[in-house]
Symmetry: C2
C-alpha cells in the first residue's frame, strides 16, 4: 500500500473542468444559470458523462435522473464508496457550489485509473438531480421522496416532475427503484465549498463537517390594529410592528443563549398597511432556525412559542404560527470524520470541525449510510453569486483530501 500516499489528483485538469463547466449557463453578469431540467443541464450532463468515461467509469442514470459513474473495485459484490454533489445552480449561481464535488469525484477516479490503482470497493461518483430546488435526486436515493405526491416536486418553471424526469432520462413511475441502502453503499463523502466564512476567518484549509443541520421554519402572523399614527395615544395602541420587533430580538437572543451555537433568522417581514402615518395593523414574518441537534431545534421551537405568547400579551396583539419546513439534522459518521481529519494531518493541511448550516445532498444520503463532508474555504463566505470564489489551490487540496479519504475508507470498510 506504500504507493498510495504519493497519489494526487491532477489539479490543473480539475480546474480546467471547473472553468469549462462554468461556460454552460453563464450570464452576462458572470453568474451562472443552470437550472435542473433545462437545455443547460443537458449540456452539462453530456460533459460530465464524457469526463466520467475518460476516467474509466461506466455511467448510468437512475429513475430520479441521478447521473452515476462507477469505477469498478477489486472485490466482486462489494458495496460502493460513493461521492458526488450536484451540477444544477440557483438562478444566479456561482462556479463552485456543487460542481466542485462532482468534478473532484471524477478527478479522483481518473487519478486512480491513470495510476492503475483499483480499490477493494467500487467508487461511485453521483451528480444528484436538482439539489437547488426539489432535492429529488438525493431524496429518491435516501427513500424519503413522496412518491404519491408528484405535485410537490414541480420545477421552477412550473413543469411537472414527470416531464422533468423524462427530459433527463429518469422516470417518475419507477422512482422508488432509485432507493439505495447501506448494503450497496458503504459510505458517502461529499466535497463542497463552505458557503460561509468560518474557514476563511479561522485561516483553516479544510473543514471536517460534523453533520448537516436540521431546519425548523415558521411563518408568523401578528395581528394588531391599524390606527392613525397621530390620534392614537401610545397606551391605546395594538402595534403589530412593535410586537414584530420583540419577536425579531427574541429569535436572535434565543439563538445566542443556546450552547450548540444554532443560527436563527428573521429574513422575511412585511407590514400592513405600511404607511408612514398609520400604526401597523398586521405583520407577517418568517423564522428560520438551524442546528445540528434535534433536541436544540425542538427546545428552540418550544421556547419560541412561549416567547410569542408573552409578546402577544405584552403588546395586546394576536400571534399565530404556521410550520413552513421541518428538516431533521443528519450527523456525519465518526469513522468518516476521523478519516478526513487524519488525511488532513497526513497531507499537512490545517483543519477544524464544523457543522454544515446549508443543506446538501449529504443531508439525505446520511439517512441511509455513513456520511461525511469535506469543506474548502469560500472567499468572504459568498455563495449563490457570481462572486463565489475558491482558489484553484484550495479546490485541488479538497480533491486530494477526498482522494485519500476514499482510500482510507476503502481500507477501513475492507477490514470490517
Amino acid at each position: 500500500m506504500f504507493v498510495l500516499p504519493k497519489l494526487s489528483v491532477n489539479g490543473d485538469r480539475l480546474n480546467e473542468h471547473i472553468d469549462r463547466l462554468a461556460k454552460v449557463g453563464r450570464q452576462p453578469s458572470g453568474s451562472i444559470c443552470r437550472l435542473a431540467f433545462t437545455s443547460e443541464i443537458l449540456q452539462a450532463r453530456y460533459l460530465i458523462q464524457q469526463w466520467m468515461n475518460e476516467a474509466g467509469m461506466v455511467t448510468r442514470t437512475d429513475a430520479a435522473g441521478n447521473l452515476i459513474g462507477t469505477y469498478e473495485g477489486k472485490v466482486k459484490g462489494a458495496p460502493v464508496l460513493a461521492t458526488g454533489s450536484h451540477i444544477d445552480t440557483v438562478p444566479s449561481g456561482g462556479r463552485f457550489d456543487g460542481v466542485l464535488g462532482v468534478l473532484a469525484g471524477i478527478e479522483v477516479a481518473r487519478s486512480l485509473h491513470a495510476n492503475d490503482v483499483r480499490l477493494n470497493h467500487p467508487i461511485e461518483v453521483i451528480a444528484f438531480t436538482d439539489e437547488e430546488n426539489t432535492m429529488i435526486g438525493c431524496q429518491a436515493m435516501a427513500g424519503t421522496v413522496l412518491a404519491d405526491q408528484p405535485e410537490r416536486y414541480r420545477a421552477v418553471n412550473g413543469q411537472s416532475i414527470q416531464d422533468c424526469l423524462d427530459m433527463i432520462g429518469g422516470n417518475w413511475d419507477t422512482i422508488l427503484t432509485a432507493r439505495r441502502s447501506r448494503a450497496d453503499m458503504a459510505a458517502f463523502v461529499e466535497l463542497h465549498v463552505e458557503q460561509g466564512a468560518v474557514l476563511e476567518r479561522s485561516k483553516m484549509e479544510i473543514g471536517v463537517v460534523q453533520g448537516v443541520v436540521g431546519i425548523r421554519r415558521k411563518a408568523i402572523t401578528i395581528v394588531g390594529e391599524a390606527n392613525h399614527a397621530g390620534t392614537t395615544p401610545m397606551d391605546m395602541r395594538r402595534d403589530a410592528m412593535v410586537a414584530a420587533a420583540h419577536v425579531v430580538l427574541a429569535v436572535q437572543q434565543m439563538a445566542l443563549r443556546m450552547p450548540t451555537q444554532p443560527v436563527a433568522t428573521v429574513g422575511y417581514l412585511t407590514v400592513q398597511p405600511n404607511a408612514v402615518n398609520i400604526v401597523p395593523g398586521r405583520v407577517e414574518l418568517s423564522v428560520d432556525i438551524r442546528d445540528l441537534s434535534k433536541e436544540c431545534l425542538d427546545t428552540m421551537v418550544q421556547q419560541l412559542e412561549v416567547e410569542l405568547q408573552a409578546i402577544a400579551t405584552q403588546t395586546d396583539t394576536q400571534i399565530e404560527t404556521r410550520p413552513l419546513l421541518c428538516v431533521e439534522p443528519t450527523l456525519a459518521a465518526d469513522a468518516v470524520q476521523d478519516a478526513i481529519a487524519s488525511v488532513c494531518t497526513d497531507l499537512g493541511l490545517s483543519q477544524c470541525s464544523m457543522p454544515s448550516r446549508a443543506g446538501h445532498d449529504a443531508l439525505e444520503i446520511g439517512r441511509i449510510t455513513d456520511m461525511g463532508m469535506i469543506f474548502v474555504p469560500s472567499q468572504a463566505g459568498v455563495s449563490h453569486s457570481e462572486e463565489e470564489y475558491t482558489s484553484p489551490e484550495q479546490c485541488t487540496q479538497g480533491a486530494n483530501v477526498l482522494l485519500h479519504t476514499l482510500i482510507k475508507l476503502d481500507e477501513l470498510y475492507s477490514a470490517n
Copy 2:
C-alpha cells in the same frame, strides 16, 4: 344679552345637511371620495354656497379657492370671528371629518339669522381648500404657502395647482392676496370630530383642544450585509432587521419616557432581500413623532440620533436618516380654550383638555391669530373610513358649543 344663552342650533337641519353632503362622492362601499379639484367638490361647493346664502351670509372665493361666507356684524370695520373646516375627503373618507365644522358654522350663522341676532363682529365660515392633501387653502390664509414653488402643490391626480385653482374659482397668480392677519381675523374656532378614541374612552362629550401637534418625520436606512441564513454564524452577522427591531423599540420607549405624552410610530418598513433564508442586508423605515411641544420634538429627534448611533455600533450596521417632514406645533389661545370650557359648563356638557394629534386647518390659521378647536367623540376612534361615526346628538352638541363659544368670544374681543 339675557336671550343669548337660550339660543341653540337646529340639530335636525344640521344632521340633514351632513346626510345630504354624504351623497356627494359616495362609493359603493359607503365611504366617500370627494377629492379637492374634482366635479364632486364642485357639487359640494354649490350646496355649501346655497346653504350659506340661506343662512344670511354673503359668499366669496379667495385666490386659494377657499369658499367664505360672511354673516355681517354690528360694528363697522371690526375684524371677523372665523370658523370652518374643509369639505374635501381622503380617497376613502368618512361623512364627518371636516364636513361637521363647515356645516356647524353655517348652522350657527343660520341660528343667529333666524333669531335676528347680530354680534359685534362679523362671523366668517370658511370651507378651506384641499385640507387632505396640499393644505393650500389654510396655508395661503396663514401666509405659509410657497408661492414660488407651485410644483409642490400638485393634485392627487397630478394636475397642476394653477389648473386646480382655476377650476374652483381661485387664482395661483394672486395666491398671496389670500393672506389674512389678526387685524382682520380676531380669532378662529374649528369644530371637528376627534378621529381618536380619547373622548369615547374617557366618556367625555367635548374635547377642548390645547393645540395641534407638530410633526417630525424621518426616513431611516439601515445597511448591514445580506448573507446566507444558514452558513453565517450569529456573531458574524450584520443583520439590518435586528438593527431595525432595536430602532422600532427605541422609538416606542422614547415616546413613553417623555412627560408630554408624545406619540411616535414606525409605520413603514421594508426589508431587502426579504427572503426566508437570507440575513437581511437593508431595511428602510419611517419614524413619525408628534407632540404639542416644540422642545419635546427637538429633544426626541436628538435622542433618536444618539440611539441610532448606538444601535449602529451594537449591530455593526450603518444607519442614515433623512428628514421627510417638519411641521411646528400650534398652541390654542388660552382665551379661546377658556371660552370653550366655560361654554361646556354652561351647557352642562362634560369636557376635557387634549391635544389634537392630527393635522387640521387650525394648525395653520393658529399661526396668525387666536385659535381654538372643539372636538366631539369619534366612535371607536375610527376616521378616514366609511365606519367613521359621530351621533346626531354629538354633532348637535358640538355645534351648540361652537355657537356659544363665538358669542362668548364676541363679548370678550368687544371688551378688549
